[in-house]
Symmetry: none
Subunit: 232 residues, 2 copies
């Protein structure tokens, strides 16, 4: 559920949009130009704004510029509505930082799709869950490992094993810990499975496999910075 502020003077259009959006589970608030837009935005804190450029009083573009100038509202996504003829010269709106635009006439469904698309895009950006360690970057969302910028495909277990190791670099992960965290084994079982997967990980990492260090008799450790090797 998202809160959507609609700035539109034609009340029938506003109602139509609002009805459709609320049916899809959103909260739609409509205001015309008679009311001040900026105070309404600050009061309502909408997730997204739908702005008609063809407002009779203050030019819609002026409102838009004001929204972008104020730091409190600059990050709120805006979808612009224009009439058919305005399109070309008003695409300037996009260059000013609008997230999308729509030309009248349009179907409520179309607007809805644009809104959800924009919301998804915005929310995705702020929802990144990544682990950065030196040359390594773990992308949880896409279950990928980036090594020096190039993507590597890992299997489910490999990914989880590496994630566990990397989440606490500098920490030693005992065999029992890893078997518990990655495999869910409770009791300490004697198995070579862990070793095999460590090996497969190191293989995929190539030379960078050295970052997975064996602590003999104890377990394994991910070292972001490799200890300097003594030259001969």
């Amino acid at each position: 559920m998202s809160k959507i502020l609609i700035v539109e003077d034609e009340s029938d259009i506003a109602e139509l949009i609002s009805l459709h959006l609320s049916r899809e589970g959103h909260e739609a608030i409509c205001i015309g130009n008679g009311l001040q837009v900026m105070p309404a935005v600050l009061a309502q804190q909408p997730d997204i704004i739908v702005l008609d450029l063809m407002l009779p009083g203050l030019d819609g573009m002026q409102i838009f510029k004001r929204l972008r100038a104020d730091t409190r509202t600059a990050t709120i996504p805006v979808i612009i509505l224009t009439a058919k003829g305005q399109v070309t010269d008003k695409i300037a709106g996009l260059e000013l930082g609008a997230d999308d635009y729509l030309t009248k006439p349009f179907s409520p469904r179309e607007l809805y799709l644009r809104i959800t698309a924009v919301l998804r895009r915005v929310k995705k950006v702020t929802h990144v869950s990544e682990i950065q360690r030196g040359r390594f970057m773990l992308d949880r969302k896409n279950m990928k490992l980036f090594l020096d910028g190039t993507a590597l495909d890992l299997t489910t277990i490999e990914f989880k094993l590496l994630t566990t190791l990397m989440e606490n670099d500098t920490a030693i992960h005992s065999r029992a810990d890893l078997l518990r965290d990655v495999w869910g084994y409770n009791s300490d079982v004697a198995t070579r499975t862990l070793d095999t997967h460590i090996k497969r990980l190191r293989e995929k990492l190539g030379a960078a496999g050295e970052h997975i260090v064996t602590i003999r008799g104890t377990g394994f450790q991910f070292q972001t910075e490799l200890a300097a090797t003594q030259p001969a």
Copy 2:
């Protein structure tokens, strides 16, 4: 809040650490080597011990071995402090079961980070990478789905598909969107793959599979709250 026992003879270092840790909301207790370590540990029952190996009297390593030998203290995490030069020969500490080590000089912040990392690992405190939607709870970390509290195993693709759907419930995900987000397909390809995986997901969800709704001609949608079905 955790209780941390610091075994350190240099009082200024001990105070610095203690001050920093207490500012972060922890309870820090400092003792030097003049006092008996083992009795202090047994009396205080700390959540974690920070042990300086460079104690003048009894060797720090001896204390550490004793901590590990006693069943009452063997499970308490220990972070070892060493001077720069000692590193290589003292890594032996790790093999004896230390959870982490730090070489002097170090910043209090660094120690704090290590401590919280170890505590998190031990306490199994998981990150908040969870999505809650009605009866469903997605656990990103363990790639599991909890439905009404019981865990369901999903395959990699199934998990990602459901995650994508659930991240924006109320949004309709077009076939093209899903193929792009889950499979990484760029162009719109005609395939039944998506349908097959939707079906497999619904199967695993059982009756709750109804939460995945088909929007004919458009795509799919995850509905946290099912629309009321009209009785006959």
